[in-house]
Symmetry: none
Subunit: 135 residues, 4 copies
DNA sequence: GTGGTCTAGACCACG
DNA sequence: GTGGTCTAGACCACA
């Protein structure tokens, strides 16, 4: 795999900590980071990208608040849950639905013929049915 | 129903200009604002909500950049396109897809059982039969 | 009122951002900061205590995550809820109960004769029945 | 029931030494560890859980500082006091009260309807009949 | 003016 | 070694 796991764009208006958070969320959804999988240490990740440790720490902080990450001083940060685990609390999901609503509306307004089809496609391409991983 | 067209929440962490933009996008998607429909002038909208004209102008700017709004000195600002029109240029849709990807991943990672079903539901509830509409 | 609203102890092992958070929580519980009440700006509070703005920002961040604070760029940070409002999500309350359990056990183990009585006292002294405030 | 006496969660963000300390405090409060009861040696406890002896030592240190533990070279570490014994010195109780104040305030601020009732419930469920207790 | 983001670097707690 | 905390200061987004 030459997949770099993380690609950051310092020129993007999206905050770096948010980009890190997004990439991790996607990796978790895709099963690339199953529950229990370790994430790079704050220091190493920061060093690898030439960014500040505080920035990475903030990304991890958010993920922790979302319940996707658990961290102990000893073993560092590990993924706390996967797609198959019981759904997160309603409070979290409601907020997600609201954002989804706006985003789907945007696609529809822009003339995407079948938004649901795109969703299916994006999602399938993201988290293949968790088969044997390959074939 | 006098259909308020726009509801803004000044206490929300979402920037006002973003809220305006989001509401317009949703109205366009729902067909409430068909192509050619006039939007209130920057001045009147700002006055109506007691907000700064610069805030409204910024929202309109974004909508214009997205290709959803067209402004002429003659007819003011009108909706530039509707859900049925040909899709927006690729660079717009690609960006949308990227954001969609992250958002769907978030739902999946948080244990939503059938993300596509939720999308279908949210979308149907947003822009129902679109065209003939009623019966 | 000579009550300084906030007293911080830089020598305490309790992080400063946590101290700020705790004092705000107490003020909210006591009704001294009712829903909608504005908190000092990050800058002014930091300046007033000779601490860094990032430290205050972190405290506010936590309060925001707890649902006690809401902040907009315009009006700054305001209290988002009060004691009388509907209870926070179970997720939050369960965690609180667990911490309460340990803390009450501690008091009991240390020979406090009637822990419940102390709770009643502490609480009454904290949030008087919301009377006319004094008499 | 083989009563595990101690259950540690290495994935918890709560430091291990703190978990040990908390569990012992709760056991003392519940009467499961009456005054004079011996605790496992630092070495054996550490071995039993596969953790560092320094971690256990730190937990015992804290308990000793709190006055709940007494260590002699002869009899090892034994519980120094129980719920029925005379209250611990004021400086210990004052600190406890301060933390209690913050925690109760937190519950109240989060809309718990009757905080005292919850305390009663939690406590009764923690250290039920203690001695002959009821009739 | 407000808060949000990020950097560079230091110190401490945990195990 | 890990992450958590804090400082001093800069820049940007929002209204």
């Amino acid at each position: 795999m030459s997949a770099p796991l993380l690609e950051l764009d310092p020129t993007s208006p999206v905050p770096i900590y948010q980009q890190i958070r997004d990439r991790v969320v996607e990796a978790v959804a895709a099963g690339a980071l199953p529950a229990g999988a370790p994430l790079p240490s704050v220091r190493s990740l920061a060093a690898g990208f030439g960014i500040n440790t505080a920035t990475v720490a903030k990304a991890y902080d958010r993920l922790r608040a979302e319940g996707l990450l658990r961290t102990t001083s000893k073993s560092g940060s590990v993924v706390a849950r996967g797609p198959g685990d019981p759904p997160s609390p309603p409070h979290v999901l409601d907020d997600w639905r609201a954002r989804l609503r706006t985003l789907l509306a945007e696609g529809h307004a822009h003339g995407v013929p079948d938004v649901v089809a795109v969703c299916r496609e994006v999602l399938g391409d993201l988290a293949p049915p968790t088969r044997e991983e390959a074939s």
